[in-house]
Structures are given as structure tokens and as C-alpha cells.
């Protein structure tokens, strides 16, 4: 029987998401770069695409995000923070869609396989879409008292929750495979 690649892909996606969420910076060097996270997810997409063909639409977006994060990582290494508001906006839009559709595809697959994480994935997807939109809007949120602190807490919780759900979903799929 051909081994399903899907659980392995979920591992890559879970670890990739963790890399996007966690940053360990020494001076200007981010030891857990975001571009690596996107590369992991990119590698996982063909396997996800076998379950959900729509997921293959995400490959060019994932590659673009990896390139963009790679560029930012390099520029930061040399002490430069680029001020390209329109380019940043375009990639915020791409990331918003990418994140939403990826979780949608995972949720659809989970639903088809009868995994209980399906509802969590959809809920997570919606919350992250709203959060990402709020954070990307240029309304000077940092001027609102306590907003930064509240958002940091919410983003921390959302990030941890995402990682937990993805790892749990991976375990569910692995359990399914062993049955």
C-alpha cells in the first residue's frame, strides 16, 4: 500500500507555522527565519494538493512569500528596514489569502476524513483572517491605549492555538493511517 504523504505534509506545515510564529533574534539575525517556514509549507503543498487540488493554487503565493521574507531577512541582517508601503500591502494581502485558503483546505480534508479538528481549523481560519486584517490596517493602532498589549496577547494565543491544532490534526491523520 502506498504510504500517504499527507500526514508528513501536515508535519511540515505545523513546523513551518511555528517558524512563522516564533522568532529568536540575536542582534539583526533572526535564527528562526520566516522564509524557512514558508519553504517548509511550500514543500508540503503537493501532498496537500493530492487531497485538495485547490491547494496547488497556493504554491506560487507561498514561493512569493518565501522570497519576500528572505529579502526582508537579508536586509535586516545588513541593518536596513525597507520602507515600501505598497509592496508591504501587496504581501499582506497575499498572506491574508494564503493563510485563509490553506486552513480552509486543511479543514475540508479533515471534514472528509472525519477528524474532529475540522471545526477548530475553520474557527482558527476566521479569527486569523480578522486579526491579520486588523493588524495590517494603517490606522495607527499603537496610539490606542493598551491596544498593543492586548493585540500581543491575542496574537500569542492565536499563534499557540494554531500550532496546537495543527499538531493535533497531524496526530489524528497519523492515527487514521495506522487504522
Amino acid at each position: 500500500m502506498t504510504e500517504r504523504k499527507y500526514p508528513g505534509a501536515l508535519s511540515l506545515i505545523a513546523w513551518g507555522t511555528l517558524l512563522l510564529f516564533v522568532n529568536i533574534t540575536v542582534g539583526n539575525l533572526n535564527l528562526l527565519p520566516n522564509w524557512l517556514g514558508y519553504l517548509l509549507i511550500c514543500r508540503a503543498l503537493p501532498a496537500v494538493g493530492e487531497e485538495e487540488p485547490e491547494a496547488l493554487l497556493l504554491k506560487p503565493l507561498c514561493a512569493a512569500l518565501a522570497l519576500w521574507e528572505g529579502l526582508l531577512w537579508l536586509l535586516l541582517l545588513f541593518g536596513t528596514v525597507p520602507d515600501w508601503p505598497v509592496v508591504r500591502l501587496a504581501f499582506s494581502v497575499i498572506f491574508l489569502y494564503f493563510d485563509f485558503q490553506l486552513l480552509s483546505n486543511l479543514a475540508s480534508t479533515a471534514q472528509r476524513h472525519g477528524c474532529q479538528e475540522e471545526k477548530s481549523l475553520r474557527r482558527l481560519r476566521n479569527i486569523r483572517a480578522v486579526l491579520n486584517t486588523l493588524l495590517a490596517l494603517p490606522f495607527g493602532w499603537e496610539m490606542v491605549p493598551y491596544f498593543s498589549s492586548v493585540m500581543i496577547v491575542i496574537c500569542l494565543v492565536a499563534g499557540l492555538w494554531t500550532c496546537c491544532v495543527l499538531f493535533a490534526y497531524r496526530r489524528s491523520e497519523e492515527a487514521l493511517e495506522s487504522v
Binding site: 493554487l57 500591502l89 494581502v93 485563509f100 480552509s104 483546505n105 476566521n126 480578522v130
Partner: protein
């Protein structure tokens, strides 16, 4: 819009917004449905209808600077009746308006644009009216056509409209908004799916949308890119109608529909405002066929993210992303293009707050920077400034690392008057030599005082209302608190039973210009230096209100002999007014300080006492947004003789001299 430059600014901003939307649509062309692909164009509408730079921001911040530079170059040798070389480009109302007869070539270009808009609108009206006349001559439908139309309406629950058969029509179309007419080609059988397509246009008022887009196209008729954009919008509208048709038909009928579209690639099609047609040109049909082929392949459940993407794109398309910045020429000796762009940046980037204008003016004085001068110069003085600065970047710099704004006072017209005080590290007369104090000693500390008026004229600008005065010597207190060497803003006087009271008030406003230098902070800690970059949007970080109360004893000689101590306590009214009960203080010996919301000074009295007691204090106000009215409405001065409260004198704002 009243001149060609306003139009160029407006159409350039609209073009950039349209390009951004086109780029995003291209990224999501195979991911988000035709519904989103057409709906996202809605974001362009407010961009077209709102003036460019309304919020001070642009999609490309350098664009207004470049246009301003081009305008100055072009208009300087001309005598335009619509704009001057140094008036910043201001879009204002988006509809073009000719204010007087054209005088220069740029005026004639604008008139040409306006005429073009009118001609296009007339053309639209003419074509539409001619089409309606043609349809009036149309023949009633045959029984078979009527039955087919009725059947389609019943099957898909659509409302019918008047229908006519017209000879020579290439394809069916709907014409009209209030009294729509469905026109069918005479002599051939119109497929049910074509009828469905047209009835869906009718249901979703696509004719009305078509008219609306045509009006917006007329405003940008001479912009080839925008013409392309409006063609795309029209095509996307048709693709959305195709989507709606595909959602209502099944299986083989979908393939049939695609074949019908394919057969129309080479056909003419009616193209007029207020009309819709199945056919809209070969290239557009090819694109629509691709969309149809993807009908079931668009990811499902994307409504939330579609809306989020639209929300994210709204602010930049509507109000831009960043305001243009000054081209700082502080350390450059550039001429020509660099100088022109720098001065254009100053005209394009006006100060948005009174504090910003004062900050920019202060730094213009300190660094002798013509760009900063230009940013705060009234328009009628701009030409004189340009000729005075003569393309040279001054390198003179005053030895000044701080400025203060004294006695900021609001005026009836919304402007302000103030004294701009440059606190000098060293100073010397312009003609050379030294300043001397009253004792004949050489002094090089002090300040330069500039009386200024701040008012609004296309942003906040500064007018110097008097000669600069040099005030030498060191103040008895830090200038941020008060200065006995500088004028007071106002004074209040009142006579009590034991003596007279005089209160002199000053207001001192500051912008935070402390820039931390953290390069080696881990070794030496942070240190601060003066931020020499102009801040056109600054607000006052702190406004201090300072008072000096002087009590002059005017009791009898006997009372004077009986005194061994005298003191005063000053209580300022807050938002609740003055306290109803006097503050109880133990005034003995030489004391001074503050307690219970008041300041007090007491002194021992001997034969050398000159009869005067002085109490000084400064209140700090950190208000955002800036509240310039910081002086108390009233004071209560308590007079103490020999530690006992003798009288309380109240001074109110109406006692101001």
C-alpha cells in the same frame, strides 16, 4: 479642478490606484471568483470621486513633488490665468471647471481637456438617444419569441421587460434604465441562455452601472491606461453575468453557453452607455471563456477573506499610503533639478499643525534652510524667497540647540501669535564683535526673539511680524519655566486692603526635539541631541503656564513696624474654580514651596525690606491634542502678616491689563 496640473495629479493618483487593483486581481485571477473580480473595482469609485491628496497622503509620495516641480518649470515663463508657478497644486473638487478665459498654453490644454469631457458626454447621450429611436422602430416579437422569453422568465424567476425585434442586430442587448427594452435580432432564433444572460443584466441593473462607469471614464478620457481599465471593468461585469448564468444552468447547457460565446468573438456589438450585450469583443470573450472554464475550480468558502482583502485595499486606494517628505538639502550644495525638487517638496508638503509650522520655521532659522523656509512661507512671498535663496544651499548655522515658543495666543481668525525664542549656546552681533551687559561685561549667552504670526493658508504658515531682538544674559530660571528677560503674555492687577497685587503671566510651549543616540548605549548609556529635521506635523509635547505674583505692601508705618514676617500664597483656579475655603498654611520664617495646590513665599521682615513679596511658579501641561488655553481663569492671593492670614485677594481674567 481648475487647471491642467490638478487634473494630472488626480488622474495620476487614480491610475496608480487602478494599477494596484489590477495587480492584485491578476494575483488572484484563478483564485477568487468573477464576483470578487468585478466587485473589487468598487474601491476605485471613491478614489475617482475624491480629490487626490485629500488626506495629505499619496500612493506614490514622490508623485506630487515631481508634478509640483514640473509645474513650476512650465509655469514660471508663462502667465497662466489658472495657476501660478509657486501655488501648490491643489485638486479641490474633482469635476473640471473653467474659471476664466485661457491665457497660456497650459490653460488651453486644460480647456481642451474640459471640452473633450463634454464632447464625450454628448457623444454618449447622442448614441443612447439614437439607439432608443432605433428601438422605437423595432417590431413586436413573434409568438414563438414571446413564449420563449416568458418561459425563461418563469424558469429562472426573472422579471421581464418590454422586448422588440430589430432587423440587422448582431446580438441581443438590453437598453435603458428606467424603461428598459430588450432588443432581439430579427429573423433568427435567440438562444434561451442568451435571453437569460440579458435578463440577468436587467435584474442586477447593469445598465445603470454601465452609465456610471461611462461618466467616470469621461473624467479620464485622455488617460489611455484608464480607458483600458474601464474596458476591463466592462469585461469583468460581463464575466460576472456569465458566472450568474452558469450558476443557473447545468451540464451540457454550460458547454453550449461557452460555444455561443465563442461564436461571437468576431461579431460587432452595440456599445453605448445604458446598454449591455452578451458580446463585448473578441479579446474580452476569450477572457470570459477562461473564467467559464474555471467555473467550478474557484476555491469555495472565500467570502470572509474576499471581504478582508477589500477592507485591506480600501485605505491605500482611498487615501494613499504616505505623505510626501521634504527633500532635505541641509548638507548638500545641489542645484538645478535637486534644488527644484527640494523646493517643490516644501510646497507640496505643507505643515499640518501650528506647532509643526513653528518647528519648521525655527529650524529654517537655525540651519538657514531654504526648503524649510519655503514650507512655511505664505504663497505671496514664495517668489521672493526663491529669488533670495538663489539656488544656493546655505551652510550657515546658528549655535542653537533649543527653541521655545513664548506667549502663544489664539486669534479670532483661528491663527496664533507668539514669540519664537532661539536659545543660543553662543551669540554675537551680526556686524561682529560682542554683546555686553549693563556692567560692561562680555556676554555670549542669551536668546534671539522673533515675533511671529501663525495662520492657515493651504497648510500652516509663518509670518515674522517684527524685528528679531537679541536678549543677552542668563535668565534667573530655566527658560522652559519662565523668563524675567522676556515679555509677559498678560498681567492682572488688583488692590487689596493691605497692598496691591500684580500677576504677570507667561505661556511656554515646547516640541519634543530630543533625539536619543543609542549607538553605544550599552557602554555609555543614551544621550540626547537636538533633532534638526523639521516636523511639519508636530504637536506641542508640553505647554507651561508661568506666573510671577508681586505683592506691594501699602499699610501704615505703624503696621510696617509691627511686622516681623510677611508672605503670600497663590492658589490657581482649576476646572472647578477657586476653592471655597482658604488654604491653611503655617507661614513663619523664610519659607517657600507648594502644598495643597498652592505656592507660597514668606520672608522675615526688617528695616531693609522694600515692601515687596514675590511668588513664582510654573505649571506643566501635557495635553494631546494641544489645548492652548492653559492659564487659570482666576487666582486667589492670600496675604499673611506675622504668620496670620490677613486678607485674600481674588484676581480674575477680567482684571487683565
Amino acid at each position: 479642478m481648475t487647471n491642467i496640473w490638478s487634473f494630472l495629479m488626480q488622474t495620476a493618483e487614480v491610475t496608480l490606484a487602478a494599477y494596484l487593483l489590477l495587480l492584485i486581481k491578476q494575483i488572484f485571477s484563478n483564485k477568487l471568483s468573477p464576483r470578487w473580480q468585478y466587485g473589487i473595482w468598487v474601491l476605485l469609485i471613491p478614489r475617482i470621486l475624491l480629490p487626490a491628496g485629500l488626506s495629505g497622503k499619496y500612493l506614490l509620495p514622490e508623485l506630487p513633488i515631481f508634478l509640483e516641480y514640473c509645474k513650476t518649470l512650465a509655469e514660471a515663463p508663462l502667465s497662466s490665468g489658472y495657476i501660478t508657478a509657486y501655488t501648490p497644486i491643489h485638486t479641490g473638487f474633482v469635476l473640471p471647471w473653467v474659471i476664466r478665459a485661457p491665457l497660456s498654453i497650459t490653460d488651453w490644454l486644460f480647456v481642451l481637456y474640459v471640452l473633450g469631457t463634454l464632447v464625450l458626454l454628448f457623444k454618449y447621450a447622442f448614441v443612447y438617444i439614437r439607439l432608443r429611436f432605433l428601438l422605437k422602430k423595432g417590431m413586436p416579437l413573434t409568438a414563438d419569441q414571446e413564449n420563449r422569453l416568458e418561459q425563461v422568465c418563469d424558469t429562472y424567476e426573472l422579471k421581464p421587460c418590454r422586448a422588440v425585434s430589430v432587423p440587422g442586430l448582431p446580438s441581443a442587448f438590453v437598453c435603458g434604465v428606467l424603461k428598459p427594452v430588450l432588443a432581439l435580432p430579427d429573423g433568427c432564433v435567440t438562444d434561451d441562455k442568451v435571453l437569460l444572460h440579458e435578463l440577468l443584466h436587467l435584474r442586477y441593473h447593469d445598465s445603470l452601472q454601465n452609465i456610471f462607469w461611462s461618466l467616470l471614464r469621461a473624467l479620464n478620457w485622455c488617460n489611455p491606461f484608464m480607458n483600458y481599465i474601464f474596458d476591463r471593468i466592462s469585461s469583468d461585469m460581463e464575466a460576472l453575468c456569465d458566472q450568474r448564468v452558469m450558476e443557473r444552468i447545468e451540464g451540457e447547457e454550460r458547454r453550449e453557453y461557452g460555444r455561443i460565446l465563442l461564436s461571437m468573438t468576431n461579431e460587432r456589438y452595440p456599445h453605448a452607455p445604458g446598454t449591455t450585450s452578451l458580446s463585448n469583443g473578441g479579446k474580452n470573450i476569450s477572457r470570459r471563456i477562461l473564467s467559464i472554464a474555471r467555473f467550478k475550480k474557484y476555491p469555495k468558502g472565500m467570502l470572509l477573506v474576499s471581504v478582508c482583502i477589500a477592507i485591506l485595499l480600501l485605505p491605500p486606494t482611498l487615501v494613499g499610503v504616505a505623505a510626501p517628505g521634504f527633500h532635505d538639502m541641509s548638507y548638500s550644495t545641489g542645484t538645478g533639478f535637486d534644488y527644484g525638487m527640494a523646493m517643490a517638496s516644501a510646497r507640496a508638503r505643507r505643515c499640518t499643525t501650528p506647532a509643526g509650522a513653528i518647528d519648521t520655521f525655527a529650524k529654517a532659522l537655525i540651519y538657514d534652510n531654504p526648503v524649510y523656509y519655503a514650507a512655511v512661507t505664505p504663497l505671496d512671498e514664495m517668489e521672493e524667497l526663491v529669488s533670495r535663496t538663489d539656488g544656493k544651499i546655505r551652510e550657515a548655522q546658528l549655535a542653537c540647540s533649543q527653541y521655545l515658543v513664548y506667549n502663544l495666543t489664539g486669534e479670532a481668525d483661528g491663527g496664533f501669535r507668539a514669540l519664537l525664542v532661539l536659545v543660543m549656546d553662543s551669540m554675537a552681533p551680526p556686524e561682529g564683535g560682542y554683546y555686553y551687559d549693563e556692567q560692561g561685561n562680555h556676554v555670549n549667552r542669551g536668546c534671539y526673539v522673533y515675533p511671529i504670526r501663525v495662520f492657515k493658508e493651504n497648510g500652516w504658515v509663518i509670518e515674522q511680524t517684527g524685528q528679531c531682538q537679541a536678549v543677552t544674559g542668563i535668565s534667573e530660571s530655566p527658560l522652559e519655566y519662565r523668563s524675567g528677560n522676556l515679555p509677559c503674555l498678560s498681567s492682572l492687577e488688583q488692590m487689596g486692603s493691605t497692598g496691591s497685587i500684580r500677576i504677570e503671566e507667561q505661556v511656554i510651549a515646547m516640541v519634543d526635539n530630543q533625539l536619543a543616540n543609542n549607538d553605544q548605549s550599552f557602554l555609555f548609556g543614551s544621550y540626547y541631541h537636538f533633532d534638526g529635521r523639521a516636523k511639519p506635523d508636530a504637536v506641542f509635547s508640553q505647554i507651561n503656564s508661568a506666573y510671577k505674583v508681586t505683592y506691594a505692601f501699602n499699610g501704615t508705618a505703624q503696621e510696617r513696624r509691627s511686622l516681623w514676617s510677611a508672605g503670600i500664597a497663590t492658589v490657581c483656579a482649576d476646572e472647578n474654580g477657586l476653592p471655597s475655603e482658604p488654604v491653611q498654611l503655617n507661614m513663619t520664617g523664610d519659607t517657600g514651596g507648594s502644598r495643597d495646590g498652592c505656592t507660597y513665599t514668606n520672608r522675615n521682615v526688617d528695616e531693609t525690606w522694600d515692601g515687596l513679596i514675590t511668588d513664582i511658579d510654573t505649571e506643566f501641561h501635557y495635553t494631546y491634542p494641544n489645548d492652548y488655553d492653559v492659564l487659570p481663569d482666576a487666582y486667589a492671593i492670600q496675604v499673611y502678616w506675622n504668620g496670620s492670614l490677613e486678607e485674600t485677594v481674588t484676581l480674575e481674567r477680567s482684571d487683565t491689563k
